[in-house]
Amino acid sequence: MASKTVNPTRMELTRLKKKLVTAIRGHKLLKDKRDELMRQFLDMVRENKTLREEVEQSIAQANRAFALARAMMSDEALNAALLAPKQEISIELESKNIMSVNIPVFHTKTRTPDENDIYSYGFAFTSADLDEAVKSLSEILPRLLLLAEREKSCQLLAEEIEKTRRRVNALEHVVIPETQESIRYITMKLDENERSTQIRLMKVKDMMLKQAHGY
């Protein structure tokens, strides 16, 4: 054990006692942090799950529509229709702090405010299926962005929870018991020293009395 290496001195004892207090306090704080992170994480993961299921379904739908459109139109016509997108999206990144974890928050801005600008083609030479497909995709977009935000947050939170849990465990099962053990060792050693001093003094007193009075 670590107690073999500590110096049995009062100074060391005081130091260790202080360390123990800090460790216990830190342990409590980290435990609270872990519990709160876990709560947030579970909420978020549930939301994430439903969101993902929704998005996956709608994308599958949109893909079917695209497949139809592709079947109806020639490759060239389709390429020409989609070649030059009118709309442009930019994302502004902000981060939010949850229990010292920075999670991203995305703000999106489209270049033009008109939502009809997603159609980058005239309607004359394209099939109606394409309109349908593009429309369904654009309907998913807000949820798609939200999904990105949530999913990244989940990943980051999971990472942090793992780290915090490891720290809590290290404190609980290693640092705190070891410090307690060392403190016990020092106290016992000091008590033992005290007792031996006492006995030595008693012995000396006996010897001196014997010399002086001949008992």
């Binding site: 992170l37 876990m38 994480f41 579970l42 993961v45 549930r46 994430n48 799950k49 993902r52 998005v55 996956e56 994308i59 599958a60 949109a62 893909n63 695209f66 497949a67 592709r70 989609l82 997108p85 009118k86 709309q87 442009e88 999206i89 994302i91 990144l93 981060s95 920075n102 999670i103 991203p104 995305f106 489209t110 270049r111 997603i118 159609y119 980058s120 497909a133 593009v134 995709l137 654009s138 977009l141 798609l144 962005l145 999904l147 990105a148 935000e149 999913e151 990244k152 989940c154 990943q155 980051l156 939170l157 999971a158 990472e159 929870i161 793992e162």
Partner: protein, 99 residues
């Protein structure tokens, strides 16, 4: 990013589209995207499976967020799997998806 058929529709929404055909080229463009100006990279699930190592490398960064989405060939469950992995990491066992 993903195979051309899966991604070209997203172009109309104003998302930059990267169409890739083979995995070597995909890894290259993924690295480029990851170090570029993008905050979110949507990637088709089939491609995400191929590039798993690359994605794991940047998963602890705040951005970009790499989000697998189903491609035209359908869903191989990697998105849900990632979510599962996160839960397992945080909780120790899977308590949400075991139904």
């Amino acid at each position: 990013m993903g195979d051309r058929d899966s991604v070209y529709g997203f172009g109309t929404l104003g998302i930059d589209v990267v169409a890739v055909s083979d995995s070597e080229q995909a890894a290259h463009s993924f690295r480029q995207l990851a170090s570029g100006k993008y905050a979110i990279i949507y990637i088709t699930e089939s491609l995400a499976a191929e590039l798993e190592a690359e994605i794991d490398k940047i998963s602890d960064r705040e951005i970009p967020a790499v989000i697998p989405i189903p491609g035209i060939k359908g869903n191989n469950g990697i998105g849900i799997k990632n979510l599962k992995k996160a839960v397992e990491k945080a909780v120790g066992s899977d308590i949400i998806f075991n139904d």
